[in-house]
């Protein structure tokens, strides 16, 4: 044995950051080792784009003769972020099921890094997803008419939503038994992503459904980024629809405030 095996002595704050980065790096290595992961994750959004823009698109009338592709694309971005919590949940339950989580927990690493590494890693992954989706959107004719700053801010709002949903993903991932059960989370993800302003304005839905869709956090983000991109964003007169920009910031903050402590608590309860 030649390597010096004495661990480096640094502050716990240092290790919280460095260990978290090691965990993020692990997530990035997944993309390198399995580039097809991105396609699997984007499979549903891409098929939805094709379905809604090309199959239903000609029958879609969102009023004022607005272009449906320009309306649907930002919705697609928001929906991809909304479904993202399933990727988080799946990764969490896989680690738990395989015993990887227990290996981490038996090591002298910063305990927070398992959760924070997952969080930051998934946001980075979501940024890659968005990049690929945006390129597809550009190819089929979507454009941002906003300034560079507005456009970047719109993408920030999307990642901000994804960041908030990580905690729901971790919380749910730690809550379900195995990967098969995690597949059932689609039953939650589907209405969460779809009953929103992603594909149709809530004002065109039956009143009760439209009300739910309006108050869906995904709708606020979708409407906010449509406004920022300068894409058609038909909204009704309700307060929630009028304040999409504000709510695109507030909703994720609220979700984080509720689910971050719940996720951490569930993680700590593994030692019960």
């Amino acid at each position: 044995m030649t390597t010096d095996l004495r661990p480096q002595q640094r502050s716990s704050a240092y290790w919280a950051v460095v260990d978290s980065w090691t965990m993020v790096r692990r997530g990035l290595l997944y993309y390198v080792r399995q580039p097809t992961t991105i396609l699997w994750q984007l499979g549903f959004p891409i098929v939805s784009v094709l379905l809604f823009v090309y199959v239903f698109g000609s029958a879609m009338n969102i009023g004022d003769g607005a272009d449906y592709t320009s309306f649907a694309m930002p919705g697609m971005f928001a929906m991809t972020m909304a479904f993202g919590f399933m990727n988080t949940a799946y990764a969490v339950v896989l680690d738990k099921e395989k015993g990887v989580t227990d290996r981490f927990r038996s090591m002298p690493m910063a305990p927070s890094a398992v959760v924070s590494g997952r969080g930051f890693g998934d946001v980075l992954g979501a940024a890659v997803d968005l990049l690929v989706l945006a390129m597809i959107a550009l190819v089929i004719g979507w454009r941002s008419d906003g300034t560079l700053l507005e456009t970047l801010y719109a993408f920030f709002l999307l990642l901000w939503l994804r960041f908030a949903l990580i905690w729901i993903g971790i919380w749910m991932g730690l809550g379900v038994k195995n990967t098969e059960a995690a597949g059932n989370l689609f039953a939650v993800a589907f209405p969460f992503g779809m009953i929103s302003s992603v594909f149709t304005p809530p004002s065109m839905m039956p009143d009760w459904l439209g009300f739910i869709a309006m108050w869906n956090p995904v709708s606020s983000t979708a409407t906010a980024i449509r406004e920022l991109f300068g894409n058609p964003a038909p909204v009704g007169g309700s307060w929630i629809e009028q304040h999409a920009q504000l709510m695109a910031l507030v909703w994720p903050l609220l979700i984080t405030a509720i689910f971050l402590p719940m996720a951490v608590r569930r993680y700590q309860r593994l030692s019960r």
Binding site: T3, D19, T22, R26, L29, G99, R105, S106, M107, S271
Partner: protein, 334 residues
Amino acid sequence: MNDSDGGLAVQAVGLVKRYGKVTALDGFDLEVTRGSVHGLLGPNGAGKTTAVKILTTLIQADAGTATVAGADLRRDTQEVRRRIGLAGQYAAVDEILTGRQNLEMFGRLFHLGSSRARARAAELLEQFALTAAADKGVKEYSGGMRRRLDLASSMILAPQLMFLDEPTTGLDPRGRGEVWEAVRALVRQGTTVLLTTQYLEEADQLADRITVIDRGRRIADGSPAELKRQIGGDQVEVTVLERTDVAAAEAACAAVSELTPLVDPDRRRVIVPVEQQLDALAEVARRLQAAGVEVEDVGLRRPTLDEVFLRLTGHPAEDETPAQDEPQPEGVAR
């Protein structure tokens, strides 16, 4: 070795763990000598895994104290983690990464820094004969290779104490042999190994000392030879014709052994381990004759694995009353 722990790698006293109404550990004690391979043997659900999870800091005990690798389990948790390794069914490697990427990641997380983590990964790959497969995804590994990588991942800091939780469960004989060889190599380097297993043979192959656990308690403790003498030697088996004679047969068997006979009334059968086989057999036969018991079969038999467990645990798997008269070779707390 320092005097405070008397050369013990693990000293656990009165560990208790409850899950709702189920008591997984019920005052479990364990002493593991430094430099030894210690087998923790017991049927499914006996509390082996719970004990390992507590001693490796994965779960917290409801009561009891333990010193692990010289550090206090409760107060000095991170220090325990630096000094131990955990491998087996509940501590896995990442299947998507390569073997090398796994070891480098764990090296970083053990705070070696990136360059030493790289160097250590290369060393361990060599040591566990994985260099050729180092840059393949773990998904492509055979069962034996995977367990070896698992062992290597637990060896990053060359811990003084390794926990191997059922390290060969589900492996074919070849994979099992590979893992055994790797464990022997660890021991040659002076690592203390605590091994849980359901296989008596595995404990026999590897362990210097065995603790038998059942229903969350230690029920026997000794070297394999001692335990075998107690449980694995010849036994006299008597089957009587009439069910009413079972008690008489039990008395005859009890008279020839220090151990309590196992009685199976449904099969009208009594079994007792004996040391002087022929003398014991003759004595049992004589006593049965004197009592006028009609016998279907009398003979000497080697015990089956089931009987070994039955003998040590004092009850069949589903029985609810623990035996109070089990042999306790060493000062076992009750």
